[in-house]
């Protein structure tokens, strides 16, 4: 019976062919390590956020007078409401953890290089959409941190030259963050995940066109690719199991770990908390914002700190692939960058004392310095590595990739003549 139904569909829609081509027989490099699990995990968290979010939206009220109480209603009266909310709030943090690791993997292995620039750039768009969604979602509980976070971030747009004040009022629909703001943030917080889904689709189409990268940084011979199923379905599911153990630990035992206690006080437009901090995933960027004494300069630096990743395929001028794996200088730069981001996050969470401001400025300087140093460093490193002589392993891989390339071109030529 099932076979009949499937063959009926197959005559009208390429179901079996699609599953075979894109999933079960999809050729995947056999040397993928666990850092390659995080794309799948990001997809899982996206689905989890959408489901828990939709169910929360059934009980939530986007109204300045009712929002805070409706969260209490969810926590106290809705069946499993506490679980829905903690899944969603912990899920937001988990999303950023997974995405940051996913990005760090790309940077470490240098897999943003050709032909995967569009993977990297669609990923950048996804990061910006994710940040916007998270920021708008954070206003919805209408606690003190929610309110003043939104007030401060919408104020950033006041740095727009000429029409700054008008832009801020337009964004809020009010002179301060108010009822109009929470209502539109709720609508957009609901809408953006669907934009994210669309972008993920493009990300995946690009992925399946250029195929997965791998730790070697080279395109592997056909013999070094194995079918996605069962090898990587199993590996992804195992990774999911490990992820869920950690995730559920926070959901069930430390659900308030990622929630500022200040946010349990209802929003008060006339009273700012003594020390406001953004959510942890915005801290490094917040530190960069504060490091620049000029308001417009700070905003520009913060925006640049996110957009500068886009330039990576051009900033990295070395022809030797594999990122940190075969390039010691690049590896040092990577670790300097990661540690520096951690320092920025720490500074972002501290009150702005003189020492912290200085530390924040140094770290901001290093943050952008790493990107600006990269073009020169990568070129010199390449020269140095070639003079020193590449290892047998790398030479074999280069040879493998060249023969792979030759074969691919030969097949393309054959098909050309056939036509």
């Amino acid at each position: 019976m099932a076979r009949l139904v499937i063959s009926w569909i197959d005559r009208r829609f390429p179901l079996t062919k699609f599953i075979k081509h894109e999933l079960t027989e999809y050729p995947t490099p056999r040397n993928l390590n666990y850092w390659w699990n995080f794309g799948f995990l990001a997809g899982f968290v996206l689905v989890l956020q959408i489901i828990s979010g939709v169910f929360l939206a059934m009980h939530y009220k986007p109204d300045a007078l009712l929002a805070f109480a409706s969260i209490e209603h969810i926590m106290r009266e809705v069946n499993y409401g506490w679980l829905l909310r903690y899944l969603h709030s912990t899920g937001a943090s988990a999303f950023f953890v997974v995405i940051f690791i996913h990005m760090a993997r790309t940077l470490y292995y240098g897999t943003y290089r050709a032909p995967r620039e569009l993977m990297w750039w669609t990923g950048q768009v996804l990061l910006v959409l994710l940040m916007a969604t998270a920021f708008m979602g954070y206003l919805l509980p209408w606690g003190q941190m929610s309110y003043w976070g939104a007030q401060v971030i919408t104020n950033l747009f006041g740095a727009t030259p000429m029409i700054g004040d008008e832009v801020v009022v337009w964004l809020r629909g009010d002179f301060v963050v108010g009822d109009a703001t929470i209502n539109r943030f709720f609508v957009l917080h609901f809408l953006f995940p669907f934009l994210i889904c669309g972008m993920v689709l493009i990300h995946l189409v690009a992925l399946h066109y250029v195929r997965s990268s791998n730790p070697s940084g080279f395109n592997l011979d056909a013999k070094d690719n194995i079918p996605f199923h069962p090898y990587f379905t199993t590996k992804d599911l195992f990774g999911l199991g490990v992820f869920l153990v950690i995730f559920c630990f926070f959901v069930f035992f430390y659900p308030e770990f990622f929630i500022e206690s200040e946010n349990n006080i209802p929003a008060d437009p006339l009273n700012t908390p003594a020390h406001i901090v953004p959510e942890w995933y915005f801290l490094p960027f917040y530190a960069i914002l504060r490091a620049i004494p000029d308001m417009l300069g700070g905003v520009v630096a913060m925006v640049l700190s996110i957009l500068i990743f886009t330039a990576m395929p051009y900033l990295d001028r070395s022809k030797i692939p594999g990122g940190s794996r075969y390039r010691p200088a690049y590896r040092i730069l990577f670790y300097v960058f990661v540690v520096n981001v951690a320092v920025l996050a720490y500074v972002g969470a501290q009150p702005p004392t003189d020492a912290m401001t200085l530390l924040g400025r140094i770290a901001t300087f290093i943050y952008f310095g790493v990107f600006l140093l990269l073009p020169f460093l990568s070129k010199h490193e390449e020269k140095w590595l070639l003079e020193r002589g590449l290892s047998r392993e790398v030479l074999d891989l280069i040879e493998g990739e060249e023969s792979h390339e030759r074969r691919r071109k030969a097949t393309a030529r054959r098909e050309e003549t056939k036509r």
């Binding site: 489901i51 169910f55 059934m58 009980h59 209603h73 009266e77 069946n79 409401g81 829905l84």
Partner: protein, 169 residues
């Protein structure tokens, strides 16, 4: 792993099926909180019962009260009305009047037409539904269609001499 183990297809299939079953059961169980969250929350459930002072309703009068958001007609029937009702019956859904009221002077019925859910209006003889013309007598029994059944009886109890609790027996 030995060659022999790799070739043991039956064992492999079994493990595959067990894994799928455990995973499926886990996924199904994980659906429960989501489904459950759509059921009435505890604040809604706390409105499950309604209490009424019966002394407020003089003989011959009807009071409409809200129980779980639904209208409930509480009628203080006169001896004449009781006598008339115990003699007559419905042809569509026959039921003796004694079964319709726990205390014969008090009729308690859910005021929702059993046809399509409108609230019937009070008439001298009983109720008449404004939507499709169904008629009910003073025992809440349907006299004229299209309603298929008598007005529903909610669970209720006389918790004191003049106190009625609707929603629990």
């Amino acid at each position: 792993m030995s060659e022999q183990e790799l070739e043991d297809r039956e064992r492999r299939d079994f493990l595959g099926k067990v894994t799928a079953a455990v995973g499926g059961a886990g996924a199904a169980a994980a659906c429960w909180p989501f489904i459950s969250s759509m059921n009435p929350a505890t604040n809604v459930l706390s409105k499950a019962t309604t209490e009424i002072e019966l002394s407020m309703i003089p003989e011959g009068e009807t009071k409409t009260v809200s129980w779980q958001g639904k209208p409930v007609f509480v009628v203080h029937r006169s001896p004449d009305q009781i006598a008339a009702m115990s003699k007559s019956n419905s042809r569509i859904d026959p039921q003796p009047d004694e079964e319709r009221a726990k205390k014969s002077e008090w009729l308690v019925v859910v005021g929702i037409c059993t046809h399509l859910g409108c609230v019937p209006n009070k008439t001298d003889k009983g109720w008449s539904c404004p939507c499709h013309g169904s008629e009910y007598d003073l025992s809440g029994r349907v006299l004229k269609g299209p309603a298929p059944k008598n007005l529903e009886l909610p669970p209720y109890d006389f918790v004191a001499d003049d106190k009625l609790l609707i929603g629990k027996t």
